[in-house]
């Protein structure tokens, strides 16, 4: 009952840090989508790009998150503010699932459908926007979903460099050996992850071509 009590007493701060957390995840996912989808298209259409692009994204994924924050610290402008740093790091982590699913989604389009479109005289651009992307959209979205769920968890670590978010509670709680504080960060983060997973999963099913 202590936890409920704590939540009621501190609901303003919890709400504020939740919104901050959402902002970190939202902005970084947006960047990752804007960069990752074109990179995925690039590697699906020009196989020479496939290995360097996916390889780089894979390597980024293997860097421990705390270390990545450390690496980025000396970068000018980015390193000057902790929220910029956190957003860049989260964007980099979100790239891999988005690139990989864009690649898989486009390569998975029925080659006869693509050939029919080409034979009808669609330009490469028309083929991409009217045929390939609409048919790959649910696969791409499932990559975005994975990226968001992972980001919600990773963003808690951003508090270690002072970027805020629900990680604040968790780190504070760990330092003070206070379980209520840890749960005040962990429970809203879990709820965020689950609802993002559910919501994006629903959209994904709606968009899946029959």
């Amino acid at each position: 009952m202590n936890v409920v009590h704590y939540f009621l007493q501190n609901h303003e701060e919890i709400l504020e840090l939740t919104l901050q957390h959402l902002w970190l995840v939202g902005i970084s996912t947006l960047f990752a989508v804007l960069i990752g989808i074109p990179l995925g298209i690039l590697s699906a259409h020009w196989p020479v790009w496939n290995k360097p692009v996916l390889g780089t994204a894979n390597i980024i994924q293997t860097i421990p998150s705390l270390a990545l924050f450390g690496f980025l610290l000396p970068v000018p402008w980015i390193g000057a503010r902790s929220d910029r740093l956190a957003i860049l790091a989260l964007s980099l982590y979100a790239l891999l699932p988005i690139i990989r699913n864009t690649y898989t989604g486009i390569r998975g389009v029925d080659p006869f459908v693509v050939e029919a479109g080409r034979g009808m005289g669609l330009t490469d651009r028309q083929l991409l926007f009217q045929v390939e992307l609409p048919l790959a959209v649910s696969v791409i979205l499932s990559g975005v979903r994975v990226a968001v769920v992972v980001s919600v968890g990773l963003a808690t670590i951003a508090a270690a460099i002072g970027a805020g978010g629900l990680g604040e509670f968790i780190f504070r709680g760990l330092a003070m050996v206070n379980n209520e504080l840890i749960l005040a960060g962990a429970i809203p983060a879990a709820i965020l992850a689950l609802s993002a997973d559910f919501g994006l999963g629903w959209v994904e099913r709606r968009l899946r071509p029959r």
């Binding site: 006869f112 009808m120 009217q130």
Partner: protein, 275 residues
């Protein structure tokens, strides 16, 4: 001749210039196609397709029929020789314009699964900037032409039967009224009854529309029934070009082997050139 009648169903509004008087619509000169790995798929091809005829490319798998077809709309580019469509060299013409002037129908139909029938048929007219009223009436006209209820326009491809899908594929290929149609085993995946019906409809459609058709098949019965002429292919070579009646009596060993393999009753299906 029945074939010259237009019935007022389809106004002739060609998107491409007609061939210079009486010249071939499609002209292959010493054409070869070799895969990037060096394997030759087609060599020394010389073939002319005349206006309004249905030229059948007959042969077994790997004989180069589909390769020949794809060279016309430049889904493949020849390794040697040249191809002219309506007198113009395909190698130097605008590939998008070339393809929009040539209807393309394939066995797997290739309907866009995420688009309704109306959007499938209306895609190229829309891209070409037709007013939406004209697109709508064209879709209805085409669906009736291929024997479908216009109500079907609001369905998705997965809600149609195989025969219906193939008809929609033909309607889509005819959307901007191209003078040339390329058909790659269009009826190959259908059951015997539906295939028979679609072949019959193809004949009556072709009598009305007088398109220049290149039609790929491995089925001699289909070739004899639909073709004005049959080009027999084997191992990347054009063996001979014969009318259906000539084909049945041919002394060519390969043609004779085909006739023997398909057994009796072939006489009755022969296209005797009513068009």
């Amino acid at each position: 001749m029945l074939g010259t009648a237009n019935f007022g169903i389809l106004p002739i509004r060609s998107t491409m210039e007609r061939a210079p008087a009486n010249g071939p619509v499609i002209d292959f000169r010493d054409v070869a196609y070799t895969l990037p790995n060096g394997r030759p798929l087609l060599h020394d091809l010389n073939l002319q397709v005349q206006p309004g005829e249905t030229l059948i490319l007959l042969g077994r798998s790997g004989s180069g029929k589909t390769t020949t077809l794809k060279l016309v709309n430049r889904l493949l580019n020849p390794s040697a020789g040249e191809i002219r469509v309506n007198g113009a060299l395909t190698a130097v013409s605008d590939v998008i314009r070339l393809r929009r002037g040539i209807g393309y129908v394939i066995q797997d139909v290739g309907l866009f699964p995420h688009l309704k029938v109306e959007r499938n048929i209306g895609l190229v007219p829309r891209i070409e900037g037709w007013p939406s009223e004209r697109i709508r009436s064209r879709i209805e006209e085409l669906l009736r032409l291929v024997g479908l209820d216009p109500q079907i326009a609001s369905r998705y491809p997965h809600q149609l039967s195989g025969g219906q899908r193939q008809r929609v594929g033909v309607a889509r290929a005819l959307a901007v009224d191209p003078p040339i149609l390329l058909m790659d085993e269009p009826f190959g995946a259908l059951d015997a009854l539906t295939r028979d019906q679609l072949q019959r409809e193809f004949l009556s459609l072709q009598q009305r529309l007088q398109k220049t058709v290149v039609f790929v098949t491995h089925d001699l019965r289909e070739a004899l029934r639909l073709g004005s002429r049959i080009a027999l292919m084997e191992a990347g070579c054009l063996v001979t070009v014969l009318s259906p009646l000539e084909f049945l009596q041919s002394a060519d060993p390969l043609a004779a082997a085909y006739v023997k393999a398909f057994g009796g009753g072939l006489d009755s299906v022969v296209n005797r050139g009513t068009s």
